[in-house]
Amino acid sequence: MYLVYFVVTPNPMIEAHNLTKTFKDKKRGVITAVDNVSFTCRPGQIYGLLGANGAGKTTTLRLLATLLQPTTGTCVIAGHDTVRASEQVRAQVGFLAASTALYGRLTAREMITYFGELNGMGDDAIHARIKQLAGELDMHEFLDRRCDKFSTGMKQKTSIARTLVHDPAVMIFDEPTLGLDVMTARAIVKFVRRCRERGKTVIYSTHVMSEVEKLCDIIGIIHDGRLVTEGTLPQLRERYAEPDMEEIFVKAVGGEAAIAAALNR
């Protein structure tokens, strides 16, 4: 039984072991933003990280993207340690968050080209890649306009193209549909799904329950820095005896009072 499991499932692309991140704050003392979080994610899978604001989603993802270093614990992405081989990890990762903005004084094409160059790509490769991404994301119309004049949807599409210019094996999306209109949000969800079909490893954080239900293969619920539960949607439904994702979430984190308490902190 175990043998079969290993043969059909590819090796994990992301392996997080006991990740913990603490910050020192002058007023509140030591804050544990991420508390002993472990999970794995395989190619062709979308791992959904679900949590309220301030639950520790963004910090976890920043640890994966090597922007922050874990206080304790380790993380291996595509065979590289995020602390010891951060450059190799970043070459395999595309990171998109609300906090990763565009250069307003560059055009979309210049923006994507810059990140292609930083990834060590040649001019021809960048040119071909931009053509491909602009087609998939329907960006041709605004490709040569400056980013500071873009609508939210145009910005998000450009950001996605920037994230994917080097064709990374791992994609980390931190609330990518936040503040977008329905049509653009749908286009982005569709795009993320296509990434899975191509065998990419995707981590997708959100607090929109419907997106989790539609998109994610494995769902991890994070609360107060801790990964409180993890499993496929059917597994979670069974575990909490609830069909609805929102109800599952509330039960998993310990009721509405726990959410309110965490938000007030």
Partner: protein
């Protein structure tokens, strides 16, 4: 460190900065415009004021005029003076700036002088008031000439030679070559201007490339790229340095142009006016400077520019927002100016101690180099210490970029 990656970051930042109006203003427009405005504006206003004061002539009141009709006649014949009617409130009128000077004479002044009794004439003026000061000098000059004429008249009457009052001649001769005079008069001023320009030129790009990027959210995007942070730091640093040097170069070109055009302009005006005061004013505009000294100044400014770029990057990297960065970098200007001003003070000379004080050492050695004195041991010491400070600044800057509590300061 990967030079190709550094070049990629540098070229992108340069393009980005050239599209930023604030940077264009602070690195190109301001340094180009400020020199001509300062030199012409100041020059024109000063020349006008002096000319006006001379055209008007000095109004002078003679107190005790009844006793000196001959003196008054001579004074009235001089076009430089306008003699006004005598009133009792002359001291008040000088204070009110209605009257420039007054001449106080004893009631029987000329009678006393004729019989050879010692008499005292007093020139009344208002210290610190420019027009009154000029008037007092002119009146004194007139009175001295008048006295000499009286003495010479008396000697002639008695058939004595004029040399009796002048046993020897006294002359004053300048031995300083023109470039030394130039070095001393504007040699202190030039490094002072360069230091400020270097700093202000680096300020806006430094803030924009660090705190500005954090505020706009592009810093995190940049750090997601696989290139290592040291390449990012150096790319940004070179951009700031370029802006700093560009500011200086634009200012120097503009300054040289202004001096060339302005010099001939003022010389022409002065000749037309034919007045001593205007001539001396315009002569001050065109002191010659040793070109080799100018090259030396640039060589020594280079490590200081590096230091400024690193310092400003470090300080503004710490800030969360552009506004916060401004509140750190603004006061720094004063910190930089103070040692530069100290270098202008008389009596502060280059020594082994002052050669190690950043900025002050630059200010002092530039003054010397521009006047043609090359004190090689000190120049070496200053260049070396400046390079050391610059290297420390850069190292701290790289360290800051690697600190996540600085990069993600909430």
């Amino acid at each position: 460190m990967n030079w190709q990656a550094i070049l990629i970051v540098y070229l992108k930042e340069l393009k980005d900065q050239l599209r930023d109006r604030r940077t264009i203003i602070s690195t190109i427009v301001l340094p180009t415009v400020i020199m001509p405005v300062m030199m012409f504006g100041f020059g024109v206003v000063m020349t006008k004021i002096i000319k006006k004061a001379q055209d008007e002539g000095t109004n002078v009141m003679i107190v005790g005029s009844a006793g000196a009709p001959e003196l008054i006649k001579a004074l009235k014949a001089d076009p430089k003076f306008r003699v006004v009617a005598e009133t009792g409130d002359y001291q008040q009128r000088i204070a009110d700036k209605k009257l420039r000077v007054a001449l106080e004479l004893p009631a029987d002044f000329e009678a006393q002088v004729r019989v050879g009794q010692p008499a005292t004439a007093a020139v009344l003026y208002y210290e610190g008031e420019i027009k009154s000061g000029i008037g007092a000098r002119e009146l004194e000059g007139f009175m001295q000439k008048y006295r000499t004429a009286l003495v010479e008249g008396r000697l002639k009457e008695r058939g004595l030679p004029l040399e009796l009052t002048k046993p020897f001649e006294l002359k004053r001769r300048n031995v300083a070559p023109p470039e030394k005079v130039g070095g001393a008069t504007i040699g202190g001023f030039i490094p002072y201007i360069i230091i400020i320009l270097c700093f202000s030129g680096a300020m806006y790009p430094a803030m924009d490339l660090t705190a500005g990027e954090k505020e706009r959210g592009t810093m995190e995007t940049l750090m997601c790229s696989p290139t290592s942070r040291i390449n990012i730091v150096f790319g940004k640093f070179l951009t700031v340095l370029t802006a700093s040097v560009a500011t200086m170069v634009f200012a120097m070109i503009s300054m040289a142009g202004t001096a060339l055009i302005g010099g001939s302009l003022f010389a022409g005006k002065a000749a037309a006016m034919q007045s001593a005061a205007a001539k001396s004013a315009s002569a001050g505009f065109m002191p010659t400077i040793d070109p080799a000294g100018m090259l030396g100044v640039f060589a020594l400014v280079a490590p200081v520019a590096v230091f400024f770029a690193a310092l400003l990057l470090t300080v503004s990297l710490f800030a969360k927002s552009y506004k916060e960065a401004q509140s750190y970098a603004g006061p720094l200007i004063i910190v930089v100016i103070i040692p530069a001003v100290f270098g202008l003070l008389p009596g502060i000379e280059l020594s082994a101690k002052t050669a190690l004080i950043p900025i002050l050492n630059l200010s002092l050695v530039c003054k010397e180099m521009l006047s043609g004195t090359w004190n090689w041991p000190f120049i070496g010491l200053i260049f070396g210490s400046s390079c050391l400070y610059a290297a420390i600044g850069l190292a701290v800057c790289v360290k800051m970029f690697n600190r996540e509590d600085v990069m993600f300061r909430a």
